[in-house]
């Protein structure tokens, strides 16, 4: 509703808007993630572009009603292409005082707040450390506040139900959802379908949820609390079949697809860790595709088993988050040395150490590049949106198998847990991955396990193949034969070869493109999950006439060949990332370009406005 360019036309009592951002906030037990995802699907189904941001506060359920126990889900839906879940919510639904307190500072003045009035009692106010009821003071001046007795209305709606009092109370999220559906002019069908499906065999629960959802909707319609409702028309999206997908799910599907495209079974070795665990959960459900998941005793075992699986000829995948990647370092070095193809997923989270496990960050880039002993080059790719997780997963294995190298796939908590509409690809149109194991050499020919092809890749010679018996190992190896070699010149040669092999991948990836002019005053450079915020900010600045382009790296090592040249065509370069300047350091070292940095390490994604402000600062001349 605060969208700068929103055009508002009265149509009866409905106001038309370009974009709205809503945040549902409540206790961890209040089911906020669930209503969030219902709202998302409904909005997507009616054709809005949608972006979401779940926000789990901590790993364990904190005491009900407390500040650390607040769980939130933000969704932005729009009549145009959008790239982020919105900087600040236009509407906050606060199911209790703690939810209000934890989120109030995020709201822009003028925002709408809907509170569950019933929960603003003494006990809950105290748990949220409110001395006075904020609804009764001037604390909320400047906001439009609606006090809705959600709990009691829910109970009333379930008077005739056989549910226990506790079960009834648990339904209140659907009351809030129904109310929001009414307010934002959304149909109930999709949610009703899902309720029917989920509770197919549990009639009492099904009926209760339906009743409460409808009660919420009816409440909006019948009370006079809301003077107008809002309508966000469908966005102009690429035609096709869509579903909503989180980055972690897209990652799992991407790797599943890679395995199908390669005609080679997927092996996933992993140890649970937030926020990467969902990839394990997803892949474990695809055993019918030949996927084998190995829940290891730790991350070291997980990566080592994956190296073993790679040796055995599988599409070998391991996955983890920050601290787990630190543990895998030594074994990833082994994979570099023996030159076997595999992919290492790292869903980055807040660090250092255990850090902020449920929060997002991009501070593992340099760990990915350098976090091993010795000169140990490998390839790094990073998806940039939840959907792109699918695409880059396939790309990661394409490179791994063709170039016989481990590839680190850098996702992050924001991508992994965030969801967006995904245009379901046509299976037939997916890129092919060519797997060609070495075969027995011809008569008189010798098999050389470290002989290289034009990409400097060595053969993938898997145990079980007749005539290729050979030994690999982690000591330095003689060129061609792979035998142990302590020869100084050989070590130099092999070090150079390993580096050249990775560099050569640059010939096999698309050039970097600028969104906006190919030259100009400012290039905003990013990588990974900040894509949406950067694209939005750049788009807005461009609309205001700034000569700014957005350049987003999805291949981080090697970088596309034209990277230095492209950047050098801009007067200024701004590298925006959720760390203290890691990509910036790489670009400065590689290209000696004086990049500025926009850096944030707060466990939160960029706000579009933060990026915009920085762009304005750097493009001072062009300000409109």
């Amino acid at each position: 509703m605060t969208t700068a360019s929103s055009t508002t036309t009265k149509s009866g009592d409905k106001r038309e808007l370009d974009r709205v951002t809503i945040r549902f906030a409540g206790d961890s037990g209040d089911g906020m993630q669930l209503v969030g995802s219902h709202f998302t699907t409904t909005s997507a189904v009616i054709g809005n572009d949608v972006q979401t941001l779940p926000d789990f506060p901590a790993e364990i359920r904190a005491p009900a009603g407390s500040l650390p126990g607040v769980s939130a889900f933000q969704i932005s839906f729009a009549a145009e292409d959008i790239f982020t879940p919105g900087d600040r919510p236009d509407v906050l639904v606060a199911m209790n005082p703690a939810a209000l307190k934890a989120n109030l500072s995020e709201l822009p003045r003028g925002a709408t707040i809907i509170v569950n009035d019933d929960e603003f009692n003494k006990a809950n106010l105290k748990k949220a450390a409110y001395e006075e009821n904020p609804l009764d003071t001037d604390a909320l001046d400047g906001f439009t506040v609606h006090r809705v007795p959600i709990t009691s209305m829910t109970t009333r709606a379930l008077e005739d139900s056989d549910l226990t009092a506790q079960q009834k109370a648990r339904c209140k999220n659907f009351f809030a959802l129904g109310l929001m559906y009414w307010l934002f002019d959304r149909p109930l069908d999709s949610t009703l379908d899902m309720i029917n499906e989920k509770f197919a065999t549990r009639a009492t629960l099904r009926e209760a949820n339906v009743a409460v959802l409808k009660a919420g909707h009816a409440y909006g319609e019948t009370t006079e609390m809301f003077h107008e409702t809002f309508h966000v028309p469908p966005a102009e999206l690429e035609p096709g079949l869509y579903r909503n997908i989180t980055g972690n799910a897209a990652t799992a599907l991407g790797f599943l697809a890679a395995s199908q495209q390669a005609g080679t079974p997927l092996f996933y070795g992993s140890y649970p860790i937030t926020p990467a665990s969902d990839v394990l959960h997803e892949l474990a459900r695809f055993k019918n595709f030949g996927v084998k998941t190995f829940q290891a005793e730790d991350e070291i075992s997980a990566v080592c088993a994956t190296v073993g699986a790679a040796w055995g000829g599988a599409l070998a995948l391991t996955g983890t988050s920050g601290p787990g990647l630190a543990l895998k370092g030594e074994a990833v070095g082994m994979a570099v040395m023996v030159e076997l193809p595999m992919v290492i997923i790292n869903v980055q989270r807040g660090g250092p150490s255990t850090g902020l496990p449920t929060k997002t960050e991009q501070a593992d880039l340099l760990q990915a590049i350098y976090g091993r002993n010795g000169e140990s080059p490998l390839c790094i790719v990073a998806p940039c949106t939840p959907s792109d997780c699918f695409t880059m997963a396939i790309e990661a294995f394409r490179i791994a198998v063709k170039h016989m190298t481990p590839v680190i796939y850098l996702s992050d908590g924001y991508l992994g847990n965030g969801a967006e509409p995904w245009k379901i690809p046509d299976v037939a149109s997916l890129p092919a991955i060519k797997v060609a194991y070495a075969t027995q050499p011809g008569e008189g020919e010798e098999f050389l396990p470290y002989k290289r092809d034009e990409w400097l890749a060595r053969p993938w010679a898997i145990p079980g193949t007749e005539g290729l018996e050979h030994r690999i190992g982690t000591l330095e190896k003689q060129d061609l034969t792979g035998n142990v070699s302590y020869d100084p010149a050989n070590h130099q040669h092999m070090t150079d070869l390993r580096a050249a092999k990775i560099e050569r991948i640059a010939d096999d990836i698309p050039p970097l493109e600028a969104f906006g002019g190919d030259s100009g005053e400012l290039a905003v450079v990013g990588w990974g999950g900040t894509y949406g915020a950067l694209r939005s900010a750049v788009t807005r600045a461009q609309r205001r006439g700034a000569k700014v382009s957005h350049i987003h790296l999805r291949h981080l090592n090697p970088m596309p060949k034209n990277t230095g040249e492209l950047l050098s065509r801009f007067d200024k370069v701004l590298v925006a990332e959720l760390n203290c300047g890691q990509l910036r350091a790489l670009l400065r070292a590689k290209f000696l370009i004086d990049c500025a940095g926009l850096n944030k390490v707060a466990g939160q994604p960029f706000r579009v406005s933060e990026v915009e402000a920085k762009i304005d600062e750097l493009c001072a001349g062009e300000k409109n």
Partner: protein
């Protein structure tokens, strides 16, 4: 059909680089001798090792081989066996590699019962790094890193294997080539993790650690060979035996006690309690048991894994397009 091999077929072209006199030579030789008899073509055999003197072994085998990193061979072998259950996979490790840095992987691979043959070369010392005490070194031992004596209580490899409920657990020695061969063959024949501890002499840093057990003059009195279904008899003249007194074994003379009173070995007992009890018999109070402590059947990890895949495949036809469409979908059409 498996070709007929000789030992030579399993010898690679690499020079063997252990210290002259090292017990590793014998173990290598016996492995090369028994492999022709395990019924596997050479290209379906893989050796995986960690780091240590012992872990150099794969380089000398003309099979598939992988000299990996310190302590992690069981995990790497798990991955390999998981994706290709048809291979005969051997893990070569040392007392440091397997029980120090790699202790946890060893424990977990055995409880999972991955079908591997794990050969642990126990020389009670770190050989490759030139002579520090290892987890099996005796209490008080003076080494480079314990100049005034080791204060770590040693670990029992067999005990750890039994705690992990390994399905095949045995012990043998570098110098008893016949027993070593037999044991390796039995390990190879077993489906599931076979754990074999081999007493191995490191003549450079821990010479003679097992001499009381391995040398002709003292061997018969200091070891007892476990044979399934047979009573525990030992001694130069087979004149001594082991009897159980409650839960406590005791050495008895056959001149004084009838053979029928002796403890009869049962390697196939469902629980590992007898094997655990035997593992507690240590030199010099008791003869040290050699042979198969335990051999039981339980499902192998890689079979269970493959079984789930096969079952799921039957239950749900894999269809990528359908999986893509899971959950709620909607169609976006061109706006007019």
């Amino acid at each position: 059909m498996t070709p007929t091999y000789t030992r030579k077929d399993f010898t690679s072209d690499q020079d063997v680089r252990w210290c002259p006199g090292c017990g590793d030579y014998s173990i290598l030789a016996q492995i090369q001798r028994v492999l022709p008899d395990i019924g596997k073509p050479r290209h379906e055999i893989a050796f995986v090792s960690g780091i240590g003197c012992s872990s150099r072994l794969p380089y000398y085998m003309n099979t598939y081989g992988f000299h990996t990193i310190h302590g992690r061979a069981p995990a790497i072998a798990t991955g390999l066996k998981s994706v290709n259950p048809n291979l005969s996979v051997w893990v070569v490790t040392g007392d440091g590699d397997g029980l120090s840095i790699g202790g946890n992987h060893l424990l977990h691979v055995m409880r999972r019962n991955v079908d591997l043959n794990i050969i642990l070369f126990n020389n009670q010392i770190y050989g490759l790094t030139k002579g520090q005490y290892s987890p099996t070194s005796e209490f008080g031992k003076q080494t480079k890193s314990s100049p005034v004596g080791n204060i770590d209580h040693p670990i029992r490899p067999i005990g750890v294997a039994l705690a992990a409920e390994a399905s095949f657990v045995a012990r043998t020695m570098d110098r008893d080539t016949k027993h070593l061969q037999q044991t390796l063959l039995a390990a190879a024949a077993h489906k599931g993790t076979s754990f074999v501890e081999v007493y191995q002499n490191c003549n450079i840093f821990n010479d003679g650690a097992f001499f009381p057990l391995t040398e002709k003059a003292t061997k018969a009195d200091n070891t007892v060979v476990l044979e399934h279904g047979k009573p525990l008899i030992f001694g130069k003249e087979r004149e001594k035996g082991i009897r159980l007194n409650g839960l406590t074994p005791e050495v008895v003379k056959l001149s004084e006690v009838d053979e029928s009173e002796l403890l009869v070995h049962d390697a196939e007992r469902a629980d590992p309690v007898l094997a655990m009890l035997l593992d507690r018999m240590t030199h010099p109070q008791f003869p040290v048991p050699l042979g198969v402590f335990r051999r039981v059947e339980r499902p192998c990890y890689e079979q269970l894994m493959q079984g789930q895949v096969d079952r799921e495949r039957k239950r749900k036809t894999p269809d990528l397009a359908q999986v893509f469409r899971r959950g709620n979908t909607w169609e976006v059409t061109k706006r007019s």
